[in-house]
Symmetry: C2
Subunit: 315 residues, 2 copies
DNA sequence: CCGCGCTGATAACTTCCACCTATCAGGGCC
DNA sequence: GGCCCTGATAGGTGGAAGTTATCAGCGCGG
């Protein structure tokens, strides 16, 4: 059975005439006769009652006609979907990300992308940077959201800075250090320091904290690792320790926690949020995503600028 | 594009190897190469990334694979449905009927049929007998439920008696005649007689009533036609007139109306409910329906018999 | 480092079937 | 009865899908 048989059958069933159907299909009438006969013998079912005075659908033919119309429509749809997929307007986009980045730029960009490409299914997968890099190469993810400088980016993977955020202290709002609006690094180094262990063996957070102190030669209290985001948050809220996070991170939004920047400033006390993707033409969807990212980066600071100006005028 | 292209594509996409797919499809490998190439060029979309070390799906290929698997499954389903339809276990059955017959045997048989053939859509259409006969010939209905002897049954239409019911009087339970358990025809002939006009020009009911009196040479009061079932029922209930109906008819079930048989008996005071269908092998579904009817007719009286015997034993 | 074995692509040939034209048998209608 | 319509049949042709044989490129192991 081929689509040709189905197309021919539908034409005959709709015209109720072999000759008219043949005209419509731009073939000769005998071609239809043989094709329909072949189709019927393959099914083992008589679809059309035909005699010298015309054609009528059998009951089975009526049932088959319904299914066949559906089938042909879906064949067209399949073609259309393939073409959309090739243009990068339909398909799957798998995005790897680090948990603390779930607030701010990343969700904004995902929202905009979904609006612009409604037929693309976006799947979010939380994974460490090493897995993101490996996943990009293996095709498990097409885009990664990560923090710059934790791992070297191998050739074949491209990156772009999409946002930047201060590192600072996160702690209970009742904590004694919370009274100051800016906190010296040295004060923090004497406190009980907690690091989040999202998964076993995934020490990104602790490493980042150590680097912040080490870069300025400050000796700090030992860092205690806490497994699980919820436990980590609970320990911070109850004042059992403090931690270093990026300002845009999700913990800064907690009602019982406050974020305070350091007195010191510098590139080592900032973090760059980077998007990663695989070089080359592997995925049109990923390419579209990156294109949208660049656009968003170009417009977002401008939008902030406009807001400031508007505020200035109002005053 | 033909189903062959799709079958080949799915095989290659699943095996991720032209040679293995060729083995599976029992064709030579170059045949696959050309067919897949043709498919891609027709779509204008690259579905597979292939080089000397293997095959990979492109994004568009992944999307197309999903749609194509669905399509092939539905093609199989269409074939299966056609075969079921040919066996008469799937499709449409349109049944014409006269409104008063909606109680008793007919709904019982429809229920049994739906249980036995769950994939058959049964549609009920209320229509006069003449329309039923015409509809059977035209294929608008496959089965009719009607009353015997109102119209001659033309050749080409077959019939079977499925139930039998006494004709009697229907009236308000407060009507003076309602006190008697059996009523003489002559008493009824003096009352105000109402006939139901279901639709304009459809005088079946009135004709039946006239025939009941005429057959025994009884002169009766003029018959007033009432249009609409609800009006007819309301007039009976308020005692504005009485009428003749079959015992199994739906009006007998009304709380405010009573049915009384005549003192006289005879075949002219009974009605036979007949099922009609078109002769020949036009519809397997109709044939299945008729076969079930015969079975039901054979078992139903037996069931009644058993009930009676059981009642006798209990006493 | 070369060779072997795997990959899919290409070339040339064959086979088959979907198509054509011409014609036929049968029903409906004037 | 003759005409025109219907779909079916017969025989021939062309093209496409199939075949076998061979090639070029990559990867892996001796």
């Amino acid at each position: 059975m081929e689509l040709r048989h189905l197309r021919y059958f539908v034409a005959v069933a709709e015209e109720l005439s072999y000759r008219k159907a043949a005209d419509r299909l731009h073939v000769a009438q005998p071609a239809l006769s043989t094709q329909i006969r072949d189709l019927e013998s393959e099914l083992g079912v008589r679809l059309l009652d035909r005699n010298t005075s015309g054609v009528r659908l059998t009951d089975a033919g009526a049932v088959f006609l319904g299914r066949t119309r559906l089938l042909l429509a879906q064949a067209q749809e399949a073609v259309a979907h393939a073409r959309e997929a090739a243009k990068g307007t339909r398909g799957q986009l798998r995005v790897g990300y680090l948990a603390p980045l779930l607030v701010g730029f990343m969700p904004t960009s995902l929202k905009k992308f979904s609006e612009q490409y409604p037929e693309v299914d976006v799947t979010l997968v939380e994974m460490p940077i090493a897995d993101q890099i490996a996943g990009l190469a293996a095709g498990e993810i097409q885009v990664g959201f990560t923090i710059k400088g934790l791992l070297p980016i191998p050739p074949g993977v491209q990156e772009i800075e999409v946002a930047r955020s201060r590192i600072g202290v996160i702690m209970s709002r009742h904590h004694r250090l919370a009274k100051k609006s800016r906190i010296p690094l040295a004060d923090v180094a004497r406190e009980t320091l907690l690091s989040l262990l999202v998964k076993k063996g995934w020490t990104v957070h602790g490493d980042l904290m150590r680097r912040s102190f080490a870069g300025r030669g400050i000796r700090h209290a030992p860092i205690k690792s806490v497994e699980g985001t919820e436990t980590f948050r609970a320990m911070l809220e109850s004042g059992l320790g403090i931690s270093l996070v990026v300002e845009i991170g999700s913990l800064s939004r907690s009602r019982d926690l406050v974020f305070r920047p350091f007195v010191e400033t510098g590139p080592d006390l900032e973090m760059e949020l980077h998007a990663l993707w695989r070089e080359g033409n592997s995925s049109r969807i990923a390419a579209n995503f990156v294109a949208m990212l660049r656009e968003l980066i170009a417009t977002l600071p401008a939008a902030r600028q406009r807001k400031k100006e508007a505020a200035g005028i109002r005053r």
